[in-house]
Symmetry: C2
Subunit: 422 residues, 2 copies
Amino acid sequence: MGRIVMKFGGTSMAGTERIRRVATIVRRQQEAGHEVAVVVSAMAGETDRLVTFCREANALYDPAEYDVVVASGEQVTAGLLALTLQGMGCKARSWLGWQVPIQTDDAHAKARVESIDSAALTASMAAGEIAVIPGFQGVSPAGRVTTLGRGGSDTSAVAVAAAVNADRCDIYTDVDGVYTTDPRIVAKARKLKNVTYEEMLELASVGSKVLQTRSVSLAMKAGVRVQVLSSFIDDDAPAADTLPGTMIVSDEELAKIQEGLEMERQLITGIAADKNEAKIILTRVPDRPGAVATIFSPLAAANINVDMIIQNVGRDKGETDVTFTLPSSDLVRAQALLEAQKEPIGFHRLITDGKVAKISVVGVGMRSHAGVASTMFRALADRGINIQAISTSEIKVSVLIDEDETELAVRVLHTAYGLDAE
Amino acid sequence: MGRIVMKFGGTSMAGTERIRRVATIVRRQQEAGHEVAVVVSAMAGETDRLVTFCREANALYDPAEYDVVVASGEQVTAGLLALTLQGMGCKARSWLGWQVPIQTDDAHAKARVESIDSAALTASMAAGEIAVIPGFQGVSPAGRVTTLGRGGSDTSAVAVAAAVNADRCDIYTDVDGVYTTDPRIVAKARKLKNVTYEEMLELASVGSKVLQTRSVSLAMKAGVRVQVLSSFIDDDAPAADTLPGTMIVSDEELAKIQEGLEMERQLITGIAADKNEAKIILTRVPDRPGAVATIFSPLAAANINVDMIIQNVGRDKGETDVTFTLPSSDLVRAQALLEAQKEPIGFHRLITDGKVAKISVVGVGMRSHAGVASTMFRALADRGINIQAISTSEIKVSVLIDEDETELAVRVLHTAYGLDAE
């Protein structure tokens, strides 16, 4: 018997019939003896509809009023789920962001949760009442409605789980877990039973879009055990405790889980591909102190997130080529900013390439093993895939390749690291 | 320079294009030098959509959760109007029911406003910020969302006007004022410049559906001057101060307004028709103490509002016929309740008639004039219209007639009391 926070996305909440299915899944948890809080998204499409209204009303909208409008979508589904649960004989009530309250900062439209007063919530849950909480919303220090940014309901769920000291935060999505790679690319991709927060962060931020990155960071910081599950399960399926989702845990917990297992820990946990990268090369940049700062300062000021940076060996004395990657969506803006700074930076030519992809192998196992990177380079070389750039972290090796070779590279690496399902 | 509360209904708020027109009307008031608060309804059709969701979720819905769902419609339009006003260069912000706060009792889905803390609101208005307030919603003593019942936005507007001590509450609707009678029945109906609260109450409750009855009662109690205006006015129209709507005022103010006028006060202000009436006759009820109580107690217990009651002279000794009217929608229920009580009541037959209409002539002028009722009876008799029942109040005479004769009766009376426009 524990305390569980469950979260359902927009597809699961799209219409009263689907909400009834969600209510069935929620009730099953309560019947299993758990105290339950549920965090819900707006009906699929509803937030887009509301955002469009805001844009039509005022193209340069005030984020405080935008929040008032868009937060209404989750308010509706929270009330409807509470009603549906009541209709099934469960005690339930909705708790709006300002009612809990879920205190955020005042950065409207992208607010951060600062604190959650869980006293009333836990008292209600302990009394057998299912707490239904609209995701995505909170309240600012000034008492105004805030929202956490698109996809913020995952973060709401983890924050609530941390606040009520939940045993687990179950995120129900339209996939049934985290895979070694995208199953649409590699048919033999395997679902992972466990993955660590850091691995999940690397996998999520490089393309495995299962959970909002912020929610994973928060879970790691607060030590919330997060489980990814499919909401499209049978009505007769068992309670989530025994469902085969993916559990996201700490390094320590993972070590404990694997202690009893005979099989050695997999070196690589998963492979991610990201096609939303673009490359910029600045040729013949003067090789002097401060040169790199003149390139990246204007980009940082414009909130453009530069990812990989490689400073090639100069062709001529005193000059060097600088290559870096950034989100494709920022390419045009970055190009304009840099062209405007051509004089102070002193580059010769600016070359762009939007047809690149970043392939990453991720795994906490590589901390204690050498040779992970060289296996990658060898496997790609054997298939004639050219590596344009490399970057590494403690638990990740990423390479930049031609976008057309994305799927081939992922399949080659999935096999090379022994991830293919039998 | 004054303080104005404006209220716009669902038709005026249906979509961003119409909201832009509303914003134009609002801005004009501010440009005229007024402090402005605006109360808005949900987009036309939206509340129905949300109510349908609630019914689908749980036929016997919990009104507290119902309120959470349906209050969202006004939240959306309030945010959108604030955004639109900002886009036009006005300072504006939305104030949700719990933010003002608009304190109500805890009778969810039909709550009554108990108090409004206007300090923050008036400070904001005094600073030149237009306050946009979602109608229909408030907050209960327990801090839950409440709604005031369908059409409650009129009441919200009047309550806010009372709280901020507004000089005027302008209700923008799809008609341009209150008429002497329904212009669809009598082409020569005239728009009234002024009407008293009591006249408006009588006109509204008997069929001139311009304002929610509760809002008029509240305006009377709080002494709020209410103006009914059309929201479908020209973009170039003058500010509402000089617009030709209908002003609803107290007896005293009306007397003051008319003091300077040469024309004598009209005896009758307007004529209302209500086809949603039904008649029940119970024949040969024993004429003994308590007999009437046995008839009406079960109806009252079932919340059925009985209107006219006539106890006819008995045909036989010790027996009497009892006739009364009630809303058509309650006829079947009332019939079942009374048939079940046939024994204790002791009536002979129960006769129903759903094809009746109530015609009322209303006017504060009749207080000081005799002969109003006899003019009515004579005019109807001259056209062969049979009167089935009569009831009177200080400022109203109502008769029950055959429904088929409704339009004829209204036209005849409109002429008889000299109301026809030249």
